[in-house]
Symmetry: D2
Subunit: 323 residues, 4 copies
Amino acid sequence: MAFRVMSINSLKQATLLGELLARSFSTGPKNIGFVGLGNMGHAMASNLISKGHKLHVFDISADAKDALKAKGATTYDNVSELSKASDFVVTMLPNNDIVANTYDSILAGGINTSTFFIDSSTIDPNVAKAVQQKVKAAGATFVDAPVSGGVPGAKNATLTFMVGGTADEYETVKGILEGMGKKITHCGGYGMGQAAKVCNNMMLGISMCGLAECMNLAIRLGLDPKVFADIINASTGRSWASEINNPVPGVIPTAPAANSYAGGFATGLITKDLGIASAVATTTNTPIPLGALTHQIYRTLMAKGLANKDFSVVYDFIKNDKA
Amino acid sequence: MAFRVMSINSLKQATLLGELLARSFSTGPKNIGFVGLGNMGHAMASNLISKGHKLHVFDISADAKDALKAKGATTYDNVSELSKASDFVVTMLPNNDIVANTYDSILAGGINTSTFFIDSSTIDPNVAKAVQQKVKAAGATFVDAPVSGGVPGAKNATLTFMVGGTADEYETVKGILEGMGKKITHCGGYGMGQAAKVCNNMMLGISMCGLAECMNLAIRLGLDPKVFADIINASTGRSWASEINNPVPGVIPTAPAANSYAGGFATGLITKDLGIASAVATTTNTPIPLGALTHQIYRTLMAKGLANKDFSVVYDFIKNDKA
Amino acid sequence: MAFRVMSINSLKQATLLGELLARSFSTGPKNIGFVGLGNMGHAMASNLISKGHKLHVFDISADAKDALKAKGATTYDNVSELSKASDFVVTMLPNNDIVANTYDSILAGGINTSTFFIDSSTIDPNVAKAVQQKVKAAGATFVDAPVSGGVPGAKNATLTFMVGGTADEYETVKGILEGMGKKITHCGGYGMGQAAKVCNNMMLGISMCGLAECMNLAIRLGLDPKVFADIINASTGRSWASEINNPVPGVIPTAPAANSYAGGFATGLITKDLGIASAVATTTNTPIPLGALTHQIYRTLMAKGLANKDFSVVYDFIKNDKA
Amino acid sequence: MAFRVMSINSLKQATLLGELLARSFSTGPKNIGFVGLGNMGHAMASNLISKGHKLHVFDISADAKDALKAKGATTYDNVSELSKASDFVVTMLPNNDIVANTYDSILAGGINTSTFFIDSSTIDPNVAKAVQQKVKAAGATFVDAPVSGGVPGAKNATLTFMVGGTADEYETVKGILEGMGKKITHCGGYGMGQAAKVCNNMMLGISMCGLAECMNLAIRLGLDPKVFADIINASTGRSWASEINNPVPGVIPTAPAANSYAGGFATGLITKDLGIASAVATTTNTPIPLGALTHQIYRTLMAKGLANKDFSVVYDFIKNDKA
């Protein structure tokens, strides 16, 4: 993608930029706080350790902290203390409320204004903006930087980061994020990382549900699924879903569909992302007919107990067994 | 795509194959009938003339016939006489009923059993199957071979043909179709060309409507449309629509959106294709929630007078002007 | 409803009217043909016998014919012979094609121009119009008169008939139909009986699906289902579905929901009706977003093997068990 | 509706009940605070004055306060002072955030524990529950009591109130609410008034959109709108919308459709209510396919500038003008 040329409007900014660049590109290891050590967070923090950074970690689970301690991290009982010890803090948390509460706790304990906060959770862009304002008010820096790529991407340090912040801030965090991912994208101002993620994932959900319908219809009309998959991939109907994650078992040997829909991107997670899309569409009064219907379809799959299956399981759900 | 190995089960088939191959690969020009000389048909027939074939043409419009006559074609008042003069007959007609009636007229007048009929109209796969059976009962050969690529593809002989018939029949028509297109795909048995087209185009419609929603939401959340388009194209939300025909004016300079949605693939045509998808989904009792909703959305655009605009105009329709 | 005043425009019509009235209101029993003796047809024909009419019956099932023979009907192997013996012929058949083929068979054998044909099947209004034109061309009279009320209404002679035809024709058939139903409605010209039925039933399907969602949401928010049912029935959300056929078990003791969704109006039948609605919406390019989505929802229920359950089973389908 | 018999489980409750009844049924006028004096609030507060109560009022608009002052109310600059002067406080505010903030302001200033708070705004049931807990923690009483009936109902004191609270609290507020409405319904515990309203209104929106589609389809198939309206009202498709607010101009002379969709229930308000439904469906993971699609349809109408028209304007929006 085409990044924007940084504009330096004032001496103050230039000075700030200088500081930021200095911090980012200094050769020595950084002190990095990491809050939220689930499957994603554990792998991301581990990669930072292996890059030579010194990690300061917190999770509500003692086991989760111990697992990082075993790799050399320092553990904390208190996110404020953790923050004070860190040049950068990465938060990787499950939802809006937990992110908001965590930053409230951090700020309540007082922070160093030189600490740079990076939230890699997937949350409502408006919550991201609100947290940024609070952190800024306290004198420090905050960007949103949600990821795509899932647990495999986290383990292999091949995540994509979508960063919302100023161009300078993007440049500053880029080096740190490259320790956990392969592609670091600047999406725009505060909240725009979250906005990009939620809009991309809404499209992903629509593509997958649509593809499941089309594959099912094709098969019921008599087409061979592999033949039709080849046709659609060479035609105007192609998409990431059709090329990489075809939902019909056997079409793509490496896809979750070939493995009882295990692994991949869970139905519960796409449903969460569609819930965020739905909420911001309501806030901005934006019509999203297909997005909303896709949300309801995935919600129905949740109701049927499929939350942990790859989201391509929608094919299995809609294919006709009885009529 | 992986084509199937031809199986030759009997001497009779082998003999037939020999005849077909002989007919197809003979070096001299063929007599080719062409019924339906609209924008698509005119261009396709013209290409066949330029490849050296002798054209026998019919259309309900005298002007349409005269335009081909000026290029060297012989004109007919009667599709049956046309067929009798032709080795191959290509039909390129607007809908189910006109295709069915045209073949009824052809068959009513008697046919040569050596004539090979190719229907390149976009119709219901079941109608294609029914016509094939009638032609077969009369002793001749029929395949469905709908196209994608639109008027530009027809003019430049770069159409994709989706062929439904036996492997032998596919091989036979391939040479003829290559005079009008670049990619000739074998989709399966009779009707499967139509099935492939309708399922691909249903996916295309869903992708475009979904993309229009996502672009609109992204913009309303504050993302720059070009930046977000780059992100989605590098992510799991990408599709043919996002890469080639982004519906937001200015994102892709060559897309219809940049030209007031002129040219491209008309809303009226995607609506027609979604109508066929809807009909075959009803026949086969196949759930197509997103396909059906997309159909209704395009139908609404039709009701608003947008039938002749490129189908990416759905973005213009759903973007918020007032709220 | 307000019926239209009959206008008698000409002597010819007046004479015809006289004949029709004479036929209708004569005191003696009529010869009535009945084609299609399924659950509905058997009950309807039986009621006509009990009203004193002489029945001439046909069905593809010998058992179905025998069951009427046991009640005094004359059985036929041939619908044309049956028609020639009848003053009125009622057809009660499963779908468009069977209706069209049956009338083709009747007409192929020659008919009395004095015979009055009544089709009580539920079919596409356009098919009804086409059959009317064929019957008229053969010199006889045809109206569409689909029913609502189901098997119980058929058994108890409490069906509603929706008649499409002229005002005179409506008056003529009214007396006959009153032998099988309680309410005989004149909906307009040919096909309008079918149009009224399909539009009403599309609304019914939408209401039921919508109600199932609302009841489920209400319950999941903590409302008592009976309390909320009372509220909605006293409010702007009320409908026939909410008052008579609440889909939540236990809310209405007499509703199918209270009996494992047995009896009532089968999912297979509402799906068929929504298929007709979908087809005529395509023909007329009429946007039906909720109708189309409801169609897909019921189609999904079919795919899950619920075709024979009352259509209120949609509540059972969408309620959350797992999330 | 069937109200529940009050159960008195303990002396403490009995005593409380006694106090509440005493407060409610005492003959003298009450001091009633009223916060939010828009179209609805002004009319409601005026009715309370005319019933003999002493009103203490607040609004952010000085004009709104002055209008009530002219009718005898005491005006306040501070909601906390207002509350301290009141036996009952009614809040009638536009959205979640304003309700939450208003109660925060009231509680921050300290309250009399004997004051009984009634929120008649339409908000998320979860926000209502949260406010109730805060008010309870401060020692006072709170119920949610949203209304239906619109501005005419407010003016004529014919509103329906949907009360969420204990049976005792319901009995206590009933007398007060009867000064502003005709029907006071007990929906269940805290938040259940809001839950009932949002679920009823989701059904209302679905009914109206569905009816608009059905009327449009009926008309396009050739049915007379009045004739079809009569049929549907006597059939299984009937609903409040079809009986009272048919969206086709001319079918019901008193409906907004007959008056360019002026008056009635604004598209902006049903869209707001559907937004609440959507949010609580997300919170509870409840599938609402038709509700969500209806939400998007109304959102599209908002985007087209129809926010202030009666919500039956959806018919005008979807009817075909051009195809």
